[in-house]
Symmetry: C2
Subunit: 202 residues, 2 copies
């Protein structure tokens, strides 16, 4: 009986693992080629599975897309929480969030930022959009905290977050798992620009 | 005869004008709702035309998408050229390009950045992608010039451009023609962040 349970647990673990691999590989492909241009056939091929095997785990391509969004939300949520407990001022909380998020996305999801929510079902879309709003609000509060504690220059927090989210959303175009930079290094470079800008330090 | 020519010219002008309006309104809708989720019916309604009237000017939705990309390329090309002749150093050329591009896109195309090229035909896609490469190369050369003339802090030009293009690509999410900021003001705020970053000036 315990052997049976063990076997069942192992099978469940392996199935969860396989599901996760499909989500990650599909997410990377959606990010690279666009959701509509990526077929499940492409995704299956990139993992060495058959299309039928993928249908064992997922109803359709849209279900996988929503799972990708849910994984990205988990990564973002953890990025926020860790930054909040580790950062000693507003600037550190803000930049740690950016760093944790980039490192998480590059390692977990091959960094596909899923900007386009138009392919999601209405209830899925509002789930994703409402998380984004909360995420951005939390980021804004870090900027406000930083302005108050002197670690961030006075600015309009809303616009600071727009500029930062934009720079982060562009990371997929310069990060490649096979490329010259690790996720950590990409995060460092980006945070450097966000912190100091282009102007020469005098 | 001259009256006839006049009439023909006027008709041609008006037809060109109408075509341009369709391109702009469709571009804004594609940017807002995604290309695949936008129907020509939606676009027609937003202009007060019938769908049939749109088919008089364009073969299909894909033709309009490519026209949007071509308009964006014209705006970007002009942004570069004007910046090159007006900027007195690398920093000015770089930030003027960003400013001209944002002002052009907000006024001409309601600022839809068309990141997704997957809906374009292969030859259209390579046209767009090869222009993007040239645009980014020119921007990089402005950064190199700025580092050499002391107007930009030493950095890796490639990564600076990635961060800048990212921030620019996010503008549609904070610019609305009916919103609180003009295109000029959006450009000012963004250039401020790109120049000085978040760190307090000491």
């Amino acid at each position: 009986m315990s052997r049976w349970n063990e076997l069942v647990a192992t099978t469940e673990d392996r199935q969860r693992e396989k599901r996760e691999i499909v989500i990650r590989m599909a997410g990377a492909a959606f990010g690279r080629n666009g959701f509509y241009s990526t077929t499940l056939e492409d995704v299956a091929k990139s993992i060495g599975l058959t299309k039928a095997a993928i249908y064992y785990y997922f109803k359709n391509k849209n279900e996988i897309l929503f799972e990708c969004h849910k994984l990205a939300i988990q990564i973002a949520q953890k990025a926020l929480e860790d930054a909040e407990s580790e950062g000693r001022n507003g600037f550190e909380k803000l930049t740690l969030t950016v760093r944790n998020y980039i490192v998480g996305m590059t390692s977990e999801l091959n960094f596909s930022i899923l900007v386009d929510v138009s392919a999601l079902k209405p209830e899925e879309r509002s789930y994703v959009v409402s998380f984004r709003d909360k995420f951005e609000a939390r980021m804004r509060s870090f900027v406000e905290e930083g302005i108050a504690d002197g670690s961030i220059a006075p600015c309009e927090p809303k616009f600071a977050i727009f500029a930062i989210m934009g720079a982060v959303s562009w990371v997929p175009s310069w990060y490649s798992p096979a490329g010259e930079l690790t996720g950590e290094q990409v995060a460092d470079v980006l945070i450097g620009f966000l912190s100091n800008g282009l102007s020469p330090r005098t």
